[in-house]
Symmetry: C2
Subunit: 340 residues, 2 copies
């Protein structure tokens, strides 16, 4: 028996709903904003702004994560991180999460507890608490997360406000999660080479992305015209700003960190006939899940700490699109789509 | 091609994420409270109270619904209804929903559109709008819903406030959903007998439960000591109030509507050696998913419109529990548990 009073090899079906909740809820994150947490019909979360920012994401085993590639704690961390990033991408401060877990009765209770501990590890530094949840049985593990946030009196920063002449800036990293995924896909995660610090860091970047959450509100305060979370790949997400704003985004390849040591290290391990630089550029442009924040600022704005300029916003002469160094890029796919 | 420009037999995999959203989002509910809906990183929902009520539920195909027993619209309705009921059970007014849909690529787009139309049919009378959503691929259909609500300056009504001497009152029906489920489980849903108005009504009660949402805020305004949504069966949910409040709830069998014509009509169709009255009582006590609201009011309170008195609150001499006519009931199971 563990400290929780649960046999270490217990599965969800051994404990029933109430027993599972008793085993996992003590690990859940708490925050000042969650004034009434799980346990009643609904929770109560502070919304001092008088408006609440809300977003939801579903992670499905086999589709969005693999249990042999990520631990329960990794999945919990990532589920939290990607939702908190969406809140930050409005310029808001996250306050609370609600989590639904559907899972096979044969899932180890320890995995579910790890999931909650991963959520907590991601949430606590940002004072984000668990406001509620639900458990159900399913054939595969499905984690649904809703995140709430507060704008503290500011106006939300949308995708549609980029203007020709603006500078395009990014907070966070590009391609690191994609590089880590490549290591896993090639079966190299357990290899000796991954004892190397940079390769191990790529795996962490994939399993536990660390969105620059503070950069969202900072961009809002600095007057950002547009802001979004880069989750499906830079080309695809920049394309969304371009479409919503009716502009062209021109990325500066020299600013994209194609030579980042982490990317180069992974590309060299994988290299079999593909130029390492091409691999790095592909991770940067179409690899998703780094959850950086992409923003457009008026020309001359001092971009807030954590952001670096990676391009400019131009007039859409022939329809909104994304260019790299002034040229259209057709060699790369369109980023991630669950149904394609 | 339909009016939506989608082939009637298209499946999710034919359209991709963006195409599916284009096909289903126009049917989504709108409300005054949702000031920024789906389409950006997150939505914005009015929370004039300065606090937001939040709750989440996951519905899994095969576990919480069957596609051969319920249409997409039925599932959408039910997913909305059970979450709105949880908001009402705090004494709050629902304002918005967020919906995650994980589904096989082979799911017909028409089913997903029906799902959204069912959500909308349930939400619009209450001015509840869609604030956001997410799509993912999965082996079975999983619908996760988060509902938000506003207390309009009032205090939430919890489960733990029932006091000895209080009257116990219920808004909504008991056992109707369970009776409808029994018709489906016995394969009678398509039979001629179900042309009968009462049997058809039982099916509707199961497929599209109609929680008395207005009764939640009314109970709060009337000073209810405790309030909850009856979703897992009266015995189990009353047991939760009893446990949280440290009291005994004594139900008055004569007030439970055991002779309700709908229940009796279904029981008679099913009767094979089981007393119809026993079936009715079982649906009432352990059949869930009617989403009535159970409240405790101070003695002498005029219970608000829509509520009827069904019992009393007593001192917990030997631990909190639920009695019927003063006697413990051990013949019935404990209500619904996903993992048992």
């Amino acid at each position: 028996m563990s400290a929780h009073g649960t046999a270490e090899d217990a599965v969800l079906g051994d404990l029933g709903e109430a027993g599972v909740l008793e085993a996992i809820l003590p690990s859940a994150p708490r925050s000042r904003a969650v004034t009434l947490g799980p346990g009643d019909d609904a929770a109560l979360v502070a919304a001092p702004d008088g408006r609440v920012v809300a977003t939801t994401d579903v992670l499905v085993e086999g589709q969005d994560f693999r249990r042999d590639w990520s631990s329960g704690a990794d999945v919990g961390w990532k589920a939290a991180a990607q939702n908190l990033a969406d809140v930050a991408a409005m310029g808001a401060f996250p306050t609370a999460l609600l989590v639904g877990l559907a899972a096979p009765p044969a899932l180890p209770v320890a995995w579910a507890r790890d999931l909650v501990e991963g959520l907590t590890a991601c949430c606590e530094p940002w004072d984000v608490g668990l406001a509620g949840g639900d458990l159900s049985a399913a054939d595969q593990v499905v984690v649904s997360v809703t995140a709430l946030g507060d704008l503290r009196g500011g106006e939300p920063v949308l995708r549609g406000g980029a203007r020709p002449g603006d500078v395009l800036a990014l907070a966070g990293v590009l391609g690191h999660s994609g590089a880590g995924l490549a290591l896993l896909a090639e079966g190299l995660a357990g290899s000796e080479a991954v004892a190397d610090g940079l390769l191990a860091a790529a795996l962490v970047a994939h399993r536990r992305p660390a969105p620059p959450l503070g950069a969202g509100p900072a961009a809002r305060v600095a007057g950002a015209h547009a802001l979004m979370d880069v989750s499906d790949g830079l080309l695809r997400d920049a394309g969304r700003i371009a479409a919503a704003s009716g502009v062209v985004l021109d990325l500066d390849e020299s600013a994209l960190d194609v030579d980042h040591p982490l990317l180069v290290a992974v590309a060299r391990v994988l290299d079999e006939g593909v130029e390492p630089r091409e691999r790095c550029l592909r991770w940067i442009l179409v690899g998703g899940e780094d959850h950086g924040l992409l923003a457009a600022f008026a020309p001359g704005t001092a971009v807030p700490e954590g952001f670096r300029v990676i391009g400019t916003v131009r007039d859409a002469d022939e329809g909104p699109s994304v260019l790299v160094d002034g040229r259209p890029l057709t060699a790369f796919g369109g980023g991630f789509d669950h149904f394609s």
